[in-house]
Structure formats: C-alpha cells, structure tokens
C-alpha cells in the first residue's frame, strides 16, 4: 500500500502545479477513452493479423489445393482430406496423438498432484528444491531430449548400462527400436518434462486453500484422507482442470520431442499429427496435404476451447 501512496505522490509531483492543463483540440480528442484505446490497440492487432490471422487463413486455403514447394497451386476441393482418409499412416498418427496425449496427461496430472502434496509441507531449502524440480521444464526441450536419446541408447545408454551392471538383464530393451517401446519412451520423456508444470501450478493452488477449512474439517472428525477427499481435492479442481486443459493443448500439438527422439519412426509408428504434417509438407514437399493434416487438429482444439471458456465463465 505504501508503494501505491508513494507512487501517487510521485505522480502529483510530476504534474506541473495543481491546475488542469488545457489540451489542444487534438489532445482532447486523444484523451477520450475509446480513441486512446484504439490508438494503443492498433499496432499489436495489425501485427497479430499479419503474422497469426493471415497464416491461419492461408493455411485453410492451402488445404484445399494441391500445392508443392515452389510450384503453382491447383484447386482440389476436399481432395487432400479424401486422400488422408485413405492413408493408414494418417490414422496411425491420429491414434498415436490420442494415446500420447491421454496417457502422458494422466501421468503428469497424477504425478504433479503427488509432487505438490509433497512440496506443500514445510521443510528447509524448500525454494531451492522447487527451483531444482522445475529444471526439466525450463531447459530447452530439444537439448534435454537429446540427452534422453543418449540415456535410451540401446548399447551404451544409461538405462541399459544400469540394467547390465546390476545384473537385471543381460541386454536391455531397444527403447526406441520397436513401435511399442518407442511409444512408451516418448510418453515417458514427455511426462518427465511436463510433470513439474502440473506440480508447481497445483502447489500454487494448494497454497490458496484457507487453513481454517482444514481445521474445521478436523474438528468435525475428518482424518488425513477425509481432509484430502473433502477439502483439498474439491478446492483444487478448478486449478487441475485449467492446467490439464492447457497441457492437453500443448501435448496434443507436440512436435519437437518426437522429431528429435524418433523422427516418427520406426516405420512411421510414432508419428504424431504434428510430425506427420511436417514430414508431408517439408519432407515430401506436399504443402497442401501437410496443411490438411494440421487443419484436422482444429476440431479438437475447438472442443477444448469451448470447454475452457465454459468453465471460466461458470467460475
């Protein structure tokens, strides 16, 4: 509060004497709330229109054309979508994206809740521990993914070396070499990276729960589980819901992890829709087809947005 007072005092000093200045006619026009607002809003809106709105619309346009890199486009109507409908790799990518998003989100949310409950106790060096736990989330994803590639290396990687040294297995699994193991591996790495985001967000939510709620629950005879079930969890639901929705959007559209770790392989078995769109448009030069893959993700995004706005409105 004192900061606010100080600032208002500074403001009073900054204004030359205590008498209203007469702005010119142009000045008075600029002082109007709506004029001032639109003057401020125009540059960022033009920027977003040019670099976000235009590419989006151009992407929709492209998906109805047969367009190869550096060639003229020819209109094919829904041709690209029909082609995708008959493309088994596309459906594999759709399946993978859903499994990847679903499993990783459940793991991140439950692990994050666990992390938050552990971190919500008081202990020494707590803020240091929090900073350490967030590291996987802040280090450039590509760099940590490269480290994971080395951890999962079938011959010399850390996991298989540890399995060998401990005598648990003579030869460890080929973590990225078979379709099933590769899917498990990308889900594992995504969970490792995203779990702290859930943990720290839910922790922030935990800290907003008033202590007296817990106290009155204890007086009413609730045990540890009862307090968790009837006080903690209901108060956390809004936070968990919003963080989960964000995370689903980010995970559903993930690109770099799979691009670096498996490149969609072995034999296209780990392609997500994002990496498949990339390999079609940049690898094979089929810009129209790639745009169509990207656009097929819009309904999911739309559904999530509706859910989110509905929830925020209700709040």
């Amino acid at each position: 509060m004192s900061k606010v007072l100080e600032a208002s005092r500074a403001g009073a000093l900054a204004a030359p004497a205590r008498r209203p200045i007469r702005f010119g006619r142009l000045g008075a026009f600029m002082e109007r709330e709506s004029v001032f607002s639109w003057l401020m809003l125009t540059p960022p809106l033009l920027f977003l229109l040019a670099f976000l709105g235009y590419p989006f619309i151009y992407g929709v346009y492209l998906s109805f054309f047969h367009k190869e890199v550096a060639r003229a486009a020819s209109f094919v109507g829904f041709g690209n979508f029909v082609k995708l409908y008959d493309d088994p790799i596309f459906w594999q990518a759709v399946r993978n994206t859903i499994i990847f998003t679903g499993v990783a989100t459940i793991l991140k949310a439950s692990g994050g809740l666990g992390m938050a409950l552990v971190m919500n106790q008081s202990f020494k060096m707590k803020s240091f521990a929090r900073a350490m736990l967030l590291l996987p989330f802040i280090v450039p994803t590509v760099l940590s993914t490269v480290a994971w590639q080395w951890i999962l290396d079938p011959g010399m990687g850390l996991f298989n070396r540890l399995l060998m040294v401990s005598g648990l297995a003579e030869r460890g699994p080929s973590w990225l070499g078979t379709p099933t193991m590769a899917m498990i591996s990308i889900i594992m790495v995504n969970t490792w990276r995203g779990l702290p985001f859930f943990g720290i967000s839910i922790l922030a939510g935990l800290q907003t729960i008033p202590v007296d709620l817990h106290e009155s629950a204890t007086i009413d005879g609730a045990g540890t589980w009862g307090r968790f079930r009837y006080v903690t969890l209901p108060s956390l639901l809004p936070v968990i819901f919003i963080v989960t929705t964000f995370s689903i959007v980010i995970t559903f559209f993930d690109f770099q992890l799979v691009y670096v770790l498996t490149g969609g392989g072995p034999a296209n078995s780990t392609h997500l829709m994002a990496t498949y769109a990339y390999s079609l448009s940049m690898g094979a030069g089929q810009m129209g087809l790639g745009s169509a893959v990207a656009l097929s993700m819009v309904p999911v995004l739309g559904l999530l947005l509706v859910l989110l706005t509905f929830f925020v409105r209700k709040d």
Binding site: V4, G114, M132, L133, V142, L158, L162
Partner: protein
Amino acid sequence: MVGELTWRKRLLGLWLPLVGFLVVALFPFTWMAATSLKTNAELYDPKAMPLSIRHPSLVHYIDLLKETNFLLWVANTMLVAVIATGISLLLGSMLAYPLARMRFRGAALLAITVAITYLIPQTLLFVPMADLIGRMKLGNTLTAVMLTYPTLLVPFIAWLLMGYFKTVPKELEEQAMIDGASRWRAMTRIILPLCLPGFLSAGIFAFTLSQNEFLYALLFLSKSSVRTVPIGVVGELIRGDAFYWGQLMAGALLGSIPVALIYSFFVKYYVAGLTAGAVKG
C-alpha cells in the same frame, strides 16, 4: 513414542518422495555432465561404471568450441531472445493496457480473441508461415525468427499483464489526471511502474520460451552461421557415427546453462508467470 511416529511420517510423507522426485528430475543432467567430461575411451568402455568419472577431461568442450559454430549459436540465441522478448513486451502491453483499464466498444470480444490466439499452436501455422517467410525473402535471416517468435509470445504476455494492470486502482489514474497529467503520462509514470513485477514475470517467461523455440528455427534457419543453439545442436552435432555423444552432451549442457542461470535469478517471477493463468484464472 510420539516423536518417533512423526519422524516416521516425515520420512515416508516428505523425505523419501521428495528425494524420488529430485532424482527423477535431475539424473538426466548428471548423465549429461558425466558424459561430457569423459574421454571417448572411458565413455565407450562397457566395463566402466556409467555415472562415475575416472579421468575427467575437457576434450569434448574444446572440440565443441573449436570445430563448430557453437559460440556463434549462443550469441544468435541471445540476440534473438532479447529482441523477440522486447518486441513482445511492447506489443503485449499495448494490447493489455486498454483491455484491462479502459471502457470501449468491443472490449469483451477482443479479450476473448486474445485468449483464443494464446492457445493457437504453432503446429497449425508452420506450413503457411514457411511460405510467407519465403515470399518475404527472409529465409536464413535472424529477422525471420525475431518476427515470428512474438506471435507465440504476445497473446500470452497480454493475458498475463492484463491481470497485473487490473490490480492498480483506477483512482490513482483519475487523481493524476485531475492533477493535469494526460492519459499517456498517467500510464507511463504511474500505472506501468507499479506493474514492474508483471513485466519481469512476462519478460523472463518470454525469454526462456524464445531460447527454447525449435520448430520455426528448424524451418527458417538452415545456414550454420544463423542458427540458434537448439537447432545447431540437433542439426550439426548429431552426425552419423557413434562417437559423438561426448561433444553432443557438452553442447546440450552449455546450451542449457544460460537459461538455467537467468531462471535461477528470477525463479520467483518465473513461477508467478507460470501459475498466473491457472490460479488467478
């Protein structure tokens, strides 16, 4: 009795799981560091313990700096991150200020639009964006990423700053205007300085995101001299042969250090930015 019981509860409820979470979060970094400090002979010796180092050596770091453009990539990354963050803060606050503090027609609709653009993923835009950058003849220039990163950052920053701008009471501004200050002056001299923590949160977040960005860098920067760290490491340090892990891990570790360092100084603001969306709603 009681002391022993709580001690046991602390061990099972706090220390064991905490150590578990820390080990899982940090072991990849330990492995990075251990790999980067071993000579190839030790690294690929099947009998050596994987996480211990017998003969530490800086040979991979020296090779990395001598044989590749790594330092140039670090400089490019920093330059791009600073400029993209600057542009994004400027545009983001121009968007957020009227939306948070002014009454005008269309404000509600505009606020929803900003929230939606915040969630539009890059994946939807990269094909047309590649075409657009190509037509603007910006391929292989840092300008390409300096212009496109703000599209990822502005909506988020605007959203975050709106929360901060709303907390400053309207009376402060009115008082300043009664005292003769213009709207512009009230904003720049009184409201914005009070929102400094918001700018720090948004700035640190934008900065780490710009250093992290991969897809646009992959699309637009194919020449070694204009690459950023993530794309340089993936594009040039991964070579077909088996004996590159030492240098690769040295690159991954050195590339992570600037981000980790900046983050550690501003961790409070970073966490505030991270959780603002979820907790304040």
